[in-house]
Symmetry: C2
Subunit: 212 residues, 2 copies
């Protein structure tokens, strides 16, 4: 309480804690990350973490809040990309994959959270995801009326499957090189996966590939 004297120091410390906690929770999970590990990564003592965040659980909550906040930052851009005319499809997909590729720990964190606390995450995320899901689903239905999109597409299920491909191909990217034969570079594999994801999403949606 009463930390108004030098807020910049506090903010810096809080952010450094959250950055390292995000990385560690993503890598080792909530149970696999101890306060000591976080403190060591930040460069302070375990007890000092409790000065900034009272409990480990509150650090975890703040990490998830930060992830949602960053998603809210890009959401307007995605909505914009979805609304404007040129290359809507590619740009929406690029915005979404870019969000997770910019920091793969976001994908790892979301997948872990989906396994550890499914309902809590669904509740937390659905309000942030709802407008986006509705928008895309609505656009798909319009396309179906215009016969530009296959009529047997299940809009909601389609979007969610594409999201799952995006999430998991980034979150599990550490495993893919071993499966593609050792000969290939890591980035090369990630590139191939990203390209194939776009191709699958596109080819399974549009009745005519060149229609956008």
């Amino acid at each position: 309480m009463m930390r108004a004297a030098d807020p910049q120091v506090d903010l810096g410390a809080r952010d450094r804690i959250l950055r390292e906690a995000t990385r560690l929770f993503a890598r080792h999970g909530y149970e696999g990350t101890s306060l000591r590990m976080i403190a060591e990564a930040v460069g302070m003592q375990k007890g000092s973490l409790v000065y900034h965040f009272e409990t480990k659980e509150k650090i975890h909550g703040a990490v998830l809040d930060g992830l949602v906040a960053r998603w809210k930052d890009v959401l307007p851009q995605i909505v914009l990309a979805a609304a404007s005319g040129e290359n809507r499809f590619e740009r929406v997909i690029a915005e979404c994959t870019g969000f997770f590729l910019a920091d793969p720990n976001r994908a790892r964190l979301l997948v872990r959270e989906s396994l550890d606390h499914p309902e809590e995450l669904a509740a937390r995320v659905s309000e942030q995801l709802a407008p986006w899901l509705d928008l895309v689903a609505g656009t798909i239905r319009e396309g179906q009326k215009r016969k530009e999109i296959y009529r047997d597409v299940d809009p909601l299920a389609y979007v969610w499957q594409v999201v799952l491909m995006t999430l998991s191909s980034v979150a599990l990217s550490d495993m893919t090189p071993g499966l593609f034969g050792g000969g290939e570079k890591r980035d090369g594999v990630a590139d191939r996966m990203a390209r194939e994801l776009v191709r699958i999403a596109r080819a399974s949606l549009f009745t005519h590939p060149t229609v956008r």
Copy 2:
């Protein structure tokens, strides 16, 4: 040592331990599962677990071995489905999704392991997955020569993206109901996801939907 007196009892105990350990590791992860939790679920004391498996790590290893063993059981059927003529595509997909739907903990365990120990899992799984990946990739290339399959499909990346959809849509199924609006039943959502997965996989592969 020297447990030949009544192997049936030991086998039963080992299996009961592995069954509960599989469930708990899948639900709470390796770090989130204690020996006490496993012992309590099985109905014995913590120390007794160490009589059957020396360490927690060896229990974990045996759980993964069991998963691989069960995969090896269905692999022949998958290869058979892929080789025979009628409805090859649907049957291969059905065999794979069926494997994970029969016990969603298999999918959860694999996703967790991909996050916790990516390289170890890749090494462990690739030998079991390699013949299958090569088979499917080869079939795709044949189809491409016959112009039945889109020429811009990246066979390996395609198969892996479909595997990721299968895995993640089962492993993260606890989260989906909340995203589909509360009105729908759990099984209904799982059904829609499974159907859309097959549709996406099919529509993004074949140049003409009716060709098989």
